[in-house]
């Protein structure tokens, strides 16, 4: 914990944005368009664009720009846009902590090697700090701790930005999009990619990536497999792979040794919210991002969250849209148009749903929900119903209401790798809110 010292240099602005990735840049561009004059983007790296400069493959912006751009191109378009404005870009600067200096003043303590500690005071704040990778510790593979075990994003940076290869014989654990993209990338650079191993019985990556990244290069994909041991003294020499049963437990007798010098772990991303936590922002256990309302406002007035720090997005186009909305709402807040009220409904994820954003809704209007499924389903239905027990523990009879379906929508297919957007019209939402009558509502996905 760093204590904020009144002696630090102070800088003032109306809107501060932490993070200069696509979320931060999009929010800044929109805020400028709305007429907010003194905007500051705080970015810890020496360059803008977030993770996009290292995502050199194409597949970005198909919706926003109607073209298939590469990651650096998508970022460059927003960098060029922002550079034409008077938005202040503060690079090489780390945001350390946030607190509320007064009711309408948010204070961000930052540091850089030129000025030391600096307080940036803002009327409103957009958090766009992106996400970080899960590491090996978090999935606990037994064995030695040799060199040669890396996370996917780190290798992506090493290869695409620094220009180094991690090794020659590669094993990939995890078939999410980053794992698939890196399989192809390393193959193109001349590495021997032994295969992609996936714990689940399905890949969480997009089908198109399986075709374009694996099938095109004859890289095998092994579902229901995992790495059960890491071997090597000093550097990695081999890994042991096992099949897993339907409870995801390794099956004895299926072990197989694969020689390799690099193990690439593509085992997921987690929103980066260490900074948000310093402000006392509530974090949703499912998304690992801040709990927000329909305005992407956190539990702290004037602080908004968007992009991968709110929840892990698969499409940058959606990140831009949500960042635009966050900027619009921050603008409204600065003009006194968003006043905290009581929660109208709180939405909880039920069966087959991993995440729902926003977690709570304050006012009556059209509602958009982002939903992430836990498993792939064909001919599914999304349903909202009332949670029949208030507060979970309180089982007094008068607090139990019927399990009534309040909303339902058919979905031809759902897929964990792709977020589902559910739009609910104001009238339908009014019916839901009326029926819920202060109780929590729950959503689920099931086969029709």
């Amino acid at each position: 914990m760093i204590l904020i010292d009144k002696e630090h240099t102070n800088k003032e602005c109306s809107l501060a944005i932490v993070g200069g990735g696509p979320a931060g840049l999009s929010a800044a561009a929109r805020a400028w368009e709305l007429g907010i004059k003194d905007i500051m983007i705080i970015e810890r790296e020496p360059y803008l664009g977030g993770i996009l400069p290292q995502c050199i493959h194409s597949g970005f912006g198909t919706r926003i720009f109607n073209e298939e751009l590469t990651g650096p191109e998508y970022a460059q378009r927003f960098i060029d846009l922002v550079k034409k404005t008077k938005i202040k870009i503060i690079k090489n600067t780390f945001a350390l902590s946030i607190d509320k200096a007064s009711k309408r003043k948010i204070r961000i303590l930052t540091t850089n090697k030129y000025e030391g500690l600096v307080n940036i005071n803002a009327k409103s704040l957009v958090l766009a700090t992106g996400c970080r990778e899960r590491t090996r510790g978090q999935i606990l593979i037994p064995g030695n701790r040799p060199a040669g075990v890396f996370t996917a994003g780190f290798i992506q940076r090493l290869v695409n930005i620094e220009g180094y290869l991690p090794g020659k014989k590669i094993v990939i654990l995890g078939s999410g999009d980053i794992g698939l993209i890196m399989a192809r990338r390393l193959k193109l650079e001349g590495c021997d990619v032994q295969g992609v191993f996936e714990l689940m019985p399905f890949s969480t990556g997009l089908k198109r990536n399986i075709v374009q990244c694996l099938d095109d290069y004859d890289i095998p994909l092994y579902l229901s497999h995992t790495v059960t041991k890491i071997e090597g003294r000093g550097s990695l020499s081999s890994v042991i792979i096992s099949r897993v049963d339907n409870k995801l437990k390794p099956i004895k007798g299926t072990e197989r040794k694969i020689k390799c010098d690099t193990l690439l772990l593509s085992v997921g991303l987690i929103p980066e919210n260490e900074l948000a936590k310093t402000a006392g922002i509530l974090i949703d256990a499912n998304t690992q991002g801040p709990e927000v309302d329909e305005n992407f406002q956190t539990n702290i007035d004037g602080i908004f969250s968007c992009g991968n720090s709110l929840f892990v997005n698969d499409l940058v186009d959606n990140v831009t849209d949500d960042a635009f909305l966050a900027a619009e709402k921050a603008f409204a807040y600065m003009n006194g148009k968003i006043i905290s009220r009581n929660i109208l409904v709180r939405i909880l994820p039920g069966e087959n749903i991993a995440q729902i954003i926003p977690q709570k809704i304050y006012s009556l209007g059209n509602v958009s929900l982002w939903v992430r499924a836990k498993i792939p389903l064909k001919n599914a239905v999304f349903e909202i119903f009332t949670e029949n027990i208030r507060d979970g523990f309180d089982k007094k009879p008068d607090n139990i209401i019927e399990n009534k379906i309040l909303f339902s929508k058919k979905l031809r297919f759902v897929f964990p790798g792709e977020l589902i957007k559910i739009n609910i019209a104001k009238d339908d939402f009014k019916d839901i809110a009326d029926a819920a009558n202060g109780f929590d509502i729950k959503a689920l996905l099931r086969i029709k």
């Binding site: 360059y47 650096p72 191109e73 220009g163 193109l188 198109r208 399986i210 297919f413």
Partner: protein
């Protein structure tokens, strides 16, 4: 007559297509839920193309690699040839997004362009 199985990548549904090829054309197709499947199968079977992305060396104060892409999709079979062409070149900053780093040639039938601007 020949049978080909492929996964359509036109949309997330990922239909498994069964195409029957007769005399260098698709005589019948099944498994596709929409018309896009047929279009996809046509190009994928007779002239599969992909957008090529990689990085090349750059002389710059701030960066050591420049991300590049083919301006349009290239035939799948040309990918490794173009990659080895690109391994030979090194560019110098400043570079602007869209600048051509490798011109069209007999071995590379499409121009390769910079994906990012590097000032210095």
């Amino acid at each position: 007559m020949e049978n080909k199985k492929l996964t359509c990548i036109s949309c997330p549904e990922g239909c498994i297509l069964d195409a029957v090829i007769d005399d260098c054309r698709i005589s019948s197709i099944s498994g596709n839920k929409c018309k896009k499947g047929l279009v996809f199968a046509e190009t994928e079977i007779f002239n599969p193309t992909r957008i090529l992305t990689t990085t090349i060396r750059i002389d710059s104060e701030d960066y050591s690699r420049l991300p590049v892409r083919s301006s349009v999709a290239v035939p799948k079979n040309d990918i490794f040839t173009i990659i080895s062409e690109l391994k030979k070149i090194k560019v110098k900053a400043p570079i602007k997004m869209g600048d051509i780093v490798l011109k069209k040639s007999s071995s590379a039938k499409t121009a390769i362009i910079a994906s990012m601007s590097i000032e210095k």
